[in-house]
């Protein structure tokens, strides 16, 4: 078996908060606190969880938009978390990103042509001016935008079209991995479907690996191969799609899935309503981080932090319970 395209080992990212008059007392936000996973070539791994669970921080740490606190990020066998800027530059070409908000992630002063040409020039991918032109127009075809639109600026486009421009810009660098950080969350239902279909087509066509960060579980189920569920900076469960949606093993996964309202009037569902709110990542609870809201909590959970353990079929869960009680 070939090595995975991306490997993340025990990734940690803690942000300091300075308190007190002279900022001498430092507290830490444990945004990501020991996360490990792999993504194979051409695979979609979805990172799901609620606001503040650290899923976006993981995405940004992989792209090295900031330096990480501890751990390793390995792209195609090469460590990139401590790579020298000159090597890093070449590695950056291989992983690109599509952000959530298509209004703030495109430079309003640039024409679409320049937005798409920038990564191509930056990484020296075009051999000549003609080649550049061919590449840019091909990108427009790929994301199904009219070629005439190349001379327009972002404000002339709708949200869905802008997201297509964002995707085209990511593709321009010919990446192997695209981090989609809530890439379809801000879009309307009908446009969201267009972009989801486009992403799936592109994955097939170019063999792209996707790290799909999202809180929309129905969309995730629709397009993912595997899912990692995060809670307060940790992965609580990771499994192939079938396992996670048919037989979630972690109480949080189960609660999360049961909380999604179904578009079926009168559907019989029995949501596990979690009490309270997510605790602060500045003072995460001892033991299992989910114990303050878990309906199945027992003494051990408050002291002893469960490790991820395999339950077969590629499913890993961090919970002391062997099986979940029926609710």
């Amino acid at each position: 078996m070939s090595p995975p395209l991306l490997q993340v080992n025990d990734l940690k990212k803690h942000f300091p908060i300075n308190k007190g008059l002279f900022g001498q007392q430092t507290e830490w936000v444990y945004a990501v606190d020991g996360v490990s996973f792999e993504i194979a070539r051409g695979e979609t791994l979805s990172l799901v969880g609620e606001s503040g669970c650290g899923k976006s921080t993981v995405g940004r740490a992989i792209l090295r938009l900031f330096e990480i606190t501890a751990g390793q990020v390995i792209l195609d066998g090469q460590r990139i978390d401590d790579a020298h800027p000159s090597t890093m530059r070449q590695m950056r070409r291989r992983m690109q990103v599509v952000f959530q908000d298509p209004f703030s992630s495109l430079n309003p002063r640039m024409r679409v042509r320049d937005i798409l040409a920038e990564p191509i020039r930056n990484f020296g991918l075009a051999k000549s001016a003609e080649d550049l032109e061919v590449r840019v127009t091909t990108l427009m075809d790929t994301v199904r935008l009219p070629r005439e639109a190349l001379n327009r600026r972002p404000h002339e486009f709708s949200g869905g079209q802008r997201q297509r421009i964002g995707i085209a810009r990511a593709l321009a660098a010919e990446p192997e991995l695209i981090v989609c950080d809530e890439a379809v969350s801000a879009l309307d239902v009908s446009v969201k479907a267009q972009i989801v279909n486009l992403l799936q087509d592109l994955q097939q066509k170019f063999g792209l690996a996707l790290l799909f960060i999202s809180h929309d579980l129905a969309i995730v189920e629709h397009m993912t191969h595997r899912v990692a569920v995060m809670y307060l900076g940790k992965i609580v469960e990771v499994a192939p799609r079938r396992e996670i949606f048919a037989a979630p093993r972690h109480p949080y996964t189960k609660a999360l899935l049961s909380a999604v309202p179904l578009p079926e009037p009168g559907a019989q569902r029995n949501p596990i309503i979690l009490g309270g709110d997510v605790p602060s990542p500045i003072h995460p609870p001892n033991g299992c981080r989910f114990h303050t809201r878990c309906p199945f909590v027992f003494d051990r959970c408050r002291i002893d932090e469960p490790e991820l353990r395999s339950t077969g079929n590629g499913q890993w869960v961090a919970c002391h319970l062997e099986t979940l009680p029926q609710v």
Binding site: E50, S51, S158, G159, G160, Q161, D188, V189, S190, V191, K192, A193, Q194, V196, N197, Q200, H215, L217, A218, I219, E221, H222, R241, R242, F245, A246, A255, L256, L257, S258, A259, V260, P261, L262, P263, E264, P265, G266, A267, P271, I273, L274, D277, V278
Partner: protein, 329 residues
């Protein structure tokens, strides 16, 4: 008689590039104690409709025409003073973003008290007692302490509960909830939806729920009205609408939403796309508003706007072809 009857509501905005017909001739009614959902995508006019009902549309540049009859009175004919007596009292509203709709420099208690003192003439002590009662009703733990806290000390879910407490304090006959759970996480959304369902039974207020989330609609609405480009295109009881949507837009909308569990049922297929995008409302639209994106559109659709016709029991849709059953899901 219906609690609220809206007739030919038109809310237009004057803009530098022409008149934006945000809501263009919409009629509907809400019965007492009923939950009506208004569904549609950004820019379809659903929020402008709700703002028009409360007369919160700035005039100018906005202009509201038509009739909004609430408990026998036309709200559009009332003076500002009379309207203020209705807002927050007989009709109240919950907004999407609880951080921006609560006043950050006033305690939660004071914000609930305010409506009670203004509308119900309660004194400060009675209002305070009632405020604590309201916080208990919406499931806020330690209400006596929370009543003295400021919005920033509460989490998003708690703030939305406070918003609901403010809205329900005066026992309104009609509650307008504009995307009440959109900004919340799913587990918190589940808490708030459960709360709203429980309160509906206890308080008995009619609800207009504005949302784009079809899951939320299926969960709490009784009747649904679908809007597109400022018009009403379909209306039906909730089960009927989900079972047999008649308008191609509604069908597209339902097909574009993946269902949780579909990969297991083996029904996961490509999502239905609605090609193209919403028309520019600043230009007059000739014919059916959806014709530009509809796979079944013919010359008839492009020339003549279809009227709302009865397509089934309590089920109306604005489509030339829906009745003939030519529109297959």
């Amino acid at each position: 008689m219906a609690l609220l009857e809206v007739e030919n509501l038109q809310t237009h905005f004057r803009t530098p590039s022409g008149i934006n017909r945000a809501v263009d001739g919409v009629s509907f009614h809400v019965n007492e104690g009923e939950t009506l959902a208004i569904v549609g995508e950004s820019g379809c006019g659903k929020s402008v409709t709700s703002m028009s009902l409360m007369r919160l549309v700035p005039e100018p540049p906005g202009k509201i025409a038509g009739a909004i009859r609430f408990a026998g009175r036309d709200l559009l004919q009332l003076s500002d003073r009379e309207m203020r007596a209705i807002r927050g009292n007989e009709i109240s509203m919950i907004f999407q973003e609880p951080m921006t709709s609560l006043n950050p420099v006033l305690t939660v208690g004071r914000q609930i008290r305010e409506t009670l003192m203004i509308h119900q003439g309660l004194d400060k002590q009675a209002a305070e007692a009632h405020a604590i009662e309201m916080l208990t009703l919406v499931g806020i733990p330690e209400p006596k302490r929370r009543v003295r806290e400021y919005p920033h000390q509460l989490s998003g879910g708690m703030r939305q509960r406070v918003m609901i407490a403010v809205a329900l304090a005066c026992n309104p006959k009609l509650l307008i909830a504009d995307e009440p759970t959109t900004a919340l996480d799913v587990t918190i959304q589940a808490q708030i939806l459960k709360l709203m369902l429980g309160l509906k039974r206890r308080v008995g207020a009619a609800i207009i729920l504005i949302t784009h989330d079809l899951g939320v609609v299926a969960e709490i609405a009784e009747r649904v009205m679908v809007m597109y480009a400022g018009r009403k295109v379909e209306e039906a009881p909730v089960a009927e609408l989900f079972r047999s949507p008649r308008h191609p837009y509604t069908q597209g909308l339902l097909g574009a939403v993946p269902k949780l569990g579909s990969s297991l049922a083996g029904t996961a297929t490509r999502l239905a796309e609605i090609p193209g995008q919403v028309p520019d409302l600043r230009k007059p639209i000739i014919g059916c508003v959806f014709a530009g994106r509809c796979a079944l559109a013919t010359d008839l659709c492009r020339q003549y706007a279809p009227g709302l016709e009865e397509k089934g029991p309590r089920h109306i849709a604005a489509c030339h072809y829906a009745a003939k059953g030519a529109v297959a899901a």
